[in-house]
Amino acid sequence: QAKEQYLPVLSYRTGAYAPNGTPTANGIVDYYKLVNERGGINGVKLLVEECETMYDTARSVECYERLKGKNGGATLIHPWATGATFALTEKAAVDKIPLITTGYGRSESADGTIFKWNFPLLGTYWVAADVIVQAIAQKEGGLDKLKGKKIALVYHDSPFGKEPIPLLQERSKMHGFELQLLPVAAPGVEQKATWLQIRQARPDYTLLWGWGVMNSTALKEAQATGYPREKMYGVWWSSAEPDVKDVGQGAKGYNGVTLQHGTDKNAPVIKEILAKLHDKNKGTGPRDEVGETLYLRGVVSAAMGVEGIRAAQERFGKGKVMTGEQVRWGLENLNLTQAKLDALGFKGVLRGPISTSCADHVGAGAARIHTWDGTKWGFTTDWIEADQQIIKPLVKATAAKYATEKKLTPRTPADCQS
């Protein structure tokens, strides 16, 4: 039996979401390759296979079904779409395959006692929304200044886009700002009416929850209707290079929350990838995109899974191929201190400690804002810690509702040990 850990990758390199899906997938694949170059996880090599989903839920399910049983079985899956995460949540539980949803997926799945197989590592959409509201408050000079303000949410009309709504509603109740919801039909190339409405309502801030072509379209429409880009805040999937590149100067001043990292072409891990892969023509995708936001997101996400496997090996036997069940345990017991992260090459990219537990499947909860200056992204705020006082109860309540619907009992402490 070859010592290979099988890791299917659901990706989208064609279709409406390709501009954003491609660099992300490149990052993941390159990181896996890098791990193999480094000698695998304690000698266990990674076996990677991609499957094209076109960011379509049904196709994602198809890929999942196709790959889950191959090569001894998939041991972790990144669905790379919130919609697909919804569709896979129950299937994964049956098949015992952990789903890693770094910075996306179901926000309530932060609660590992109910969502045993979901890992929204590094941050959920509620974290993102919360940080953005706080950043806006900082700009305005305090949360109390939000009273009477008007904030619009322009969102991808899909489970993904709807995720932040409960948190924003909660915040709007707390601080007394008005929340205007503006859905955009997928894939999001038609936003004229949306921006006309924004021009009419003149909200003080506009949040952008888009993916793929929707983001750049939104920025172009904002420009065309003269909405100030400084007042726009995007989620971390809406503030990367493909979103602003072809808008260029037109997007100047646009802000985005980051999932810890922004663009960082000098990160040690990036340099290592360049040296070990791209310099030897083994890299994936164009060299000059290596280290850009989405690419790095892919790298980081892949790293989370790898560290989960590593953690699992610590307990179940170094140098062995882990099962899905074991990987789950590993993901649930991550303890990535800053030192460990730095050693992996994520110095300046990720902020430690990232530590998960049976109850907390996120492991971190802070983010920064970066801003497009017309040619590149740069951080414009310090770390902002999401307010767990608000998020926790929301997670609890929503997860509990899910549990009753599905007749699940929360995991016992004993189960948490397994």
Binding site: A16, R199, V213, T225, P242, K245, G248, G250
Partner: protein
């Protein structure tokens, strides 16, 4: 009031852009009876070609002048569209003479897949930029009349003007010229047209070529507005209600239909949308077209559907 005017105007401008895509459908349908499902893919392909070539050509020839690059890219892209038309005739249409509409529609679907794959293989599937120097920032007029002024987009106005010019030229082409008549004959009955010496092959190359050029112009304008990327193909879906509202066989219909749909969907979204949760414009456009069809089943300017025994 100002806002209403802005919405109305926005609708009219989008409408003109829809017309440009609709025109491609109308041309091919009118001239060969084929409902060209691949029109959207052709728009994408043309736009991709235009975008990438204007990037590549300066590298190849070493002259870094935006105008030179754009003009050269347009010319080469136009040539590519011609090659495409020629190949489509050679490899597909020629073998499907006298087949039913459904079969031809299906063939254009196959072409769609092919072009989608080919375009992305050659030109990549990232998001690209067409920079033909369109002004992006809005201007505000009539500040004296309306508070805050009336927002206009120069880009939209230029695009609309180009669209209008295309339509006029093409209407003239179809009117009464021998070729125009031959095109309509082909649409009615391939075989009979052949039997009296109309060379289907040549006719088809011409029509697809013209449709390719229309696609190129549409792709250039849409691409410069939205960025060039796969979803450009979905503008074809937005143009469909325009086509049937105006009539599948009418060039001016594409314009009028575009204006009605453009205005209808924007007004509905802005004024009705908020009451029902928003996002109604797409289906509203289709329902609007449907309502018109109930009164005129052939569309506003379409040729009467013949129904005789």
């Amino acid at each position: 009031m100002a806002f209403f005017l802005e919405t109305l105007f926005g609708g009219l401008m989008v409408g003109m852009l829809y017309s440009l895509v609709a025109l491609g459908f109308v041309l091919i349908f009118k001239a060969s009876g084929v409902f060209n499902f691949a029109q959207g893919a052709m728009v994408l392909f043309a736009a991709l070609a235009m975008a990438r070539l204007s990037e590549w050509i300066p590298q190849w020839i070493g002259i870094d002048n935006k105008w030179v690059a754009n003009v050269a890219a347009f010319a080469v892209a136009g040539f590519l569209m011609f090659i495409m038309a020629w190949l489509i005739e050679r490899l597909v249409l020629r073998h499907l003479v006298n087949q039913e509409a459904a079969t031809l529609l299906m063939a254009t679907l196959g072409i769609t897949y092919f072009i989608d794959g080919l375009g992305q293989t050659i030109f990549g599937s990232n998001i690209y930029k067409i920079d033909i120097g369109m002004p992006k920032d809005p201007v505000f007029v009539l500040d004296s009349v309306f508070q805050g002024g009336l927002l206009l987009n120069q880009e939209d106005i230029i695009a609309a003007a180009i669209a209008a010019a295309m339509v006029i030229v093409l209407s003239l082409f179809f009117q009464k010229t021998a070729t125009g008549r031959a095109l309509r004959a082909v649409a009615d009955d391939h075989q009979a047209a052949q039997s009296i010496g109309i060379p289907l092959n040549r006719i088809w190359v011409i029509v697809w070529c013209v449709a390719g050029l229309v696609a190129l112009v549409a792709g250039m304008i849409w691409g410069s507005k939205l960025g060039v990327q796969f979803s450009l193909t979905t503008v074809a879906l937005r143009a469909l209600p325009v086509v049937i509202l105006g009539g599948l066989t009418s060039v001016p219909g594409a314009i009028i239909g575009g204006l009605i749909i453009g205005v209808g969907e924007k007004l509905s979204e802005v004024y009705l949308g908020p009451f029902v949760g928003g996002g109604i414009e797409i289906w509203f456009a289709y329902v609007l077209a449907l309502v018109f069809l109930l009164f005129r089943p052939q569309g506003l300017f379409g040729e009467k559907i013949i129904d005789r025994v």
